[in-house]
């Protein structure tokens, strides 16, 4: 290999690296979203907080319930533009449709049906989450922790 050829090869390699980085960084490269729904029952019937909720326990300070129990947690991988349905206790369903991924934010369209009805579009950071609460259930209320991670 001639020394003179090295810079041009390095330049080619740099371009490939840049192209790869662009493809990786371009949110369009993400093909799907891992959506996880945690269904939590909040009530005042006891003072217990489910140990599985420890990572988000501090976020319950926003509510004035004393007991938090994780009823179920379900994850689905959803392709962009399609939707996934999650069964929520009480005959409810949560339909989640990932719309786009721009500036490290995932736009999620969320529809609650089968009881209370709600349509919302939320932009959350990749691997971030938000909470949807209020539907009454078994003497308490349901709080849905909705998180999404681009795959």
């Amino acid at each position: 290999m001639r020394l003179r050829q090295l810079p041009s090869q390095a330049l080619l390699f740099s371009l490939l690296v840049l192209f790869g980085a662009h493809a990786e960084g371009a949110e369009g490269f993400s093909q799907a979203v891992r959506v996880t729904i945690g269904t939590i029952l909040a009530s005042n019937q006891s003072d217990e907080v489910d140990a599985r909720l420890a990572p988000i326990k501090h976020q319950f300070r926003a509510f004035k319930y004393r007991s938090y129990r994780l009823l179920k947690e379900e994850s689905q991988t959803v392709a962009w533009g399609s939707s996934a349905t999650f069964d929520i206790p009480g005959g409810r369903r949560l339909v989640v449709s990932p719309e786009n991924f721009r500036e490290k934010q995932i736009a999620l369209k969320v529809r609650l049906e089968g009881g209370e009805k709600l349509d919302t579009t939320v932009k959350l950071q990749n691997r971030g989450h938000f909470m949807l609460g209020g539907p009454p259930h078994e003497g308490g209320v349901l709080i849905l922790s909705i998180s999404a991670a681009a795959q």
Binding site: G25, A62, T121, G128
Partner: protein, 176 residues
């Protein structure tokens, strides 16, 4: 070359036979006429003679250790700047510098990608979610953001009449 000072400056070379013939003759002439310069020449002659005798008495001088020591000292003095210069020269040679570009890029991409690594306790990492639209179909809805925990909450208020599952005991509204 007639001044005494000039001549004295060349006396050493004159005695060693290093002057060109013309200059040598000029110095010779001046020394013959000038008692001060002649005296200086004689002094240098004596010195040369004494030196030759001393060297002759001691035999061959062992210069090798001296030169080796000198070389070592010179080498030690030149070592770090020379090494640094050699390193810089090789590191910044165009060919190597060209390869440094992709390496720097890879390092930068690696650093930037660290941000996407999920931390321990994946749910602990949360920042405000931006709610772009909400339609609760006539039901009261509250939007709350807790700046301390950076949590966004959409809260469906329970209708007074109750809906599908009215709680058996009235529950308090959330504290926001």
């Amino acid at each position: 070359m007639t001044g005494c000072e000039n001549v004295r400056g060349f006396l050493g070379a004159f005695l060693d036979g290093e002057l060109p013939p013309g200059e040598s003759q000029s110095v010779e002439r001046h020394v013959r006429q000038c008692p001060v310069c002649r005296s200086e020449r004689e002094r240098l002659d004596r010195l040369n003679t004494a030196l030759r005798e001393a060297l002759g008495a001691g035999g061959e001088v062992a210069w090798d250790p001296f030169w080796r020591g000198l070389e070592r000292r010179l080498e030690a003095k030149r070592r770090w700047p020379a090494t640094m210069a050699e390193w810089l020269e090789s590191a910044f040679a165009p060919a190597k510098l060209a390869w440094a570009i992709p390496l720097v890029l890879v390092a930068l991409i690696g650093l930037l990608s660290l941000e996407s690594v999920p931390p321990i306790g994946r749910r602990d990492r949360n920042s405000f979610a931006a709610v772009e639209s909400i339609n609760a179909y006539g039901q009261n809805v509250a939007l709350f953001r807790d700046s301390e925990t950076r949590t966004t909450v959409i809260w469906l208020e329970q209708n007074q009449e109750g809906q599908d599952e009215a709680p058996t005991t009235p529950e308090p509204s959330p504290a926001f």
